[in-house]
Amino acid sequence: MDLGEINPVLLVASLMVAATPLLLAAIGELVVEKAGVLNLGVEGMMIVGAISGFAISVETGSPWLGFIAAAIGGAVLSLLFVLLTQFALANQVASGLALTLFGLGFSALLGQSYVGIKPPSMGEIHIPVISDIPVIGPILFQHDPILYVGIALTAAVWAVLKYTRIGLILRAVGENHDAAHALGYKVIKIRIMAILFGGACAGMGGAYISLIRVPQWTEGMTAGVGWIALALVVFASWKPWRALLGAYLFGGITVLQLNLQAAGVAIPVEYLAMSPYIITILVLVILSADKSSAPAALSRTFHASH
């Protein structure tokens, strides 16, 4: 065992990278659920985002366009969910699962000619002086831009939900859509916007995996991150900063346990392998002792005639 082989600076830097796809997807889903919609299609939207982002950035040579395409791809797929649940009034759970199955298959089809290609690199932000500060520089100021987008998005979602009129309306729709409707808010329209936002975030999260974290395209490469994001939203009690904490914990412990293994720490590998799940759940459950509960109208179908 030699803990000295673990470089804490690199560790923190790479845990942020590991956490970002999860964070992006979870923040998107959080907004969707705050609006009273349960979209289980996160995994599907992520993988479609992963391939749309990958394909566009390979074709255009621009990772930025790739991320925009990924957001659009995820949002377009979520349109299918909009059609099913907001217009056809289908069951949200069923539609979400359908979205995931469809997304996995569809992305495999789209991605056939992109296997084994290297995407253009986004590069890292390098601010003179600040990025070169020892320890803090590599941890905070030497990442790809999307990682900061994830954090900024968390802050933005938190601020909007908490302090703005739009946030209040969104929460009203999610808590009691009949009351919101009676007040004259367009419940369906607001929910559609939320679902599209969720799709775009999930798509970007997927593209983060295919463009930055791995970087390559492989069928089924999200491998369940979408489901973890869904669970994270619940354990984070629908609070953005807790989602961030949860994502960083999960990503962090995933990377840490691999580091501990490589350094030969004498903890049985089985415990290390399950630790990200257990510790994340534990911390978030303890935090959620304040009894914050799910949006009251979560996964209930709204129809103006009610």
Binding site: E5, N91, Q216, T218, T222, Q261, A262, V269
Partner: protein
């Protein structure tokens, strides 16, 4: 959530899964008993993983090409190991499959269970060790390929740290680690292996993370026993790190970081076994073929490898193909220092098949 909703959700999930399996098999004509032989394949990853499952699916396509209209193949991909796979196999058997290949270690008990229910269907389980009257096992001597990898890896490393991404601590993977280590150590006595268990066969993000962690801890050669090409991408990103293709050639990462590969060639075996079912000569067997039979191939060694090392590696391969050299030849000791093989002795297949110990020099414990 009330009971009604729960039942609704359960029903939807079941429908979804059944539908998924159904679509996995669509595009194939429903089997009528018109003399065609129906062959099923159960895959652990997607056919596009670029590694393990990709090669099995190439084998399936070779069967289709060989027999044309006389055969019909079906496959289901990304089937989790464990109870869920029983359902998939049962479904295949019910739909009239005559022969079913289950292509991952974790399908071992499910295969045996389902085979009991369908005595007339032949099953072939890859990399396992449990057989029955209608269950064969087959595997490739990947450890022969690992010997070649170890030889090259030991020569190529400058930091003397070789990172190894293990999937699950099963004999097949442990054999690979031991074989690679023995041959790396032979050419480079200072070499050290860092082993990380990913506990997955296929999860590109996690495999890439594992590779990155190993590189950060000083490894400049990465060997992988997981199925995707993600570690190759991670190594390429890091620069100056050597990798090897696993299960498939992964030539899209050649000539560097991928300097060589172990390729599994299942096609001849799949064709022979399908033929045996057609002829009615199929019998339960335990096949374990290596470089000599062509089930294990060594992908082209790229020019990134010095010419003399390449030559030695090819000579090693030739010696194994000729049956002159066995990768586990004594004197060898176990990790705890106890004697395993005397001078000149070679390991017997029984020990290899159940290998659950590291050889001397490797650090860390095998998770049990």
């Amino acid at each position: 959530m009330n009971a009604k909703t729960l039942i609704g959700i359960a029903a939807v999930i079941i429908l979804g899964v059944v539908g998924y399996v159904w679509f996995g098999q669509s595009g194939q004509q429903q089997a009528l008993d018109d003399g065609t032989t129906k062959v099923g394949f159960v895959y652990v990853g997607p056919v596009g993983d670029g590694g393990w499952t990709y090669e099995h699916d190439k084998g399936r396509q070779a069967v289709e090409k060989e027999f044309g209209d006389k055969v019909e193949t079906v496959f289901v991909e990304s089937v989790p190991e464990g109870p869920d796979s029983e359902r998939v196999m049962t479904q295949m058997a019910l739909e009239g499959a005559d022969l079913i290949f289950t292509t991952s270690f974790g399908y071992m008990d499910p295969t045996i269970n389902v085979a009991k229910e369908f005595p007339n269907v032949k099953f072939e389980h890859a990399t396992g060790y449990k057989t029955a009257d209608n269950v064969s096992v087959y595997s490739a001597r990947f450890y022969e390929g690992r010997a070649v990898q170890g030889h090259i890896a030991g020569n190529m490393t400058k930091s003397n740290i070789i990172g190894y991404i293990g999937s699950y601590p099963i004999p097949e993977v442990i054999r690979g680690i031991n074989s690679a280590y023995i041959h790396a150590k032979k050419v480079n006595p200072d070499v050290e292996f860092k082993i990380v268990w990913a506990y997955t066969w296929f999860d590109p993000a996690k495999e890439a993370d594992a590779a990155t962690v190993l590189i950060e801890q000083g490894a400049d050669v990465i060997l992988q026993h997981t199925d995707s090409t993600a570690p190759q991408a991670a190594a390429q990103e890091a620069g100056n790190v050597v990798t090897f293709g696993q299960a498939s050639d992964m030539s899209e990462y050649a000539p560097f970081p991928r300097v060589s590969s172990i390729i599994d060639d299942w096609a001849p075996y799949y064709i022979a076994r399908t033929q045996a079912v057609m002829d009615g000569t199929w019998e339960s067997a335990n096949t374990w073929d290596g470089i000599r039979e062509g089930m294990v191939a060594i992908g082209e060694i790229s020019d990134a490898v010095p010419a003399d090392v390449k030559e030695e590696a090819l000579a090693l391969k030739a010696a194994m193909a000729a049956g002159e050299y066995h990768p586990f030849t004594g004197p060898l000791k176990k990790q705890d220092g106890s004697d395993w093989l005397g001078d000149g002795d070679v390991a017997d297949d029984g020990t290899l098949a159940g290998m659950n110990f590291y050889v001397e020099g490797l650090e860390g414990e095998i998770p049990q």
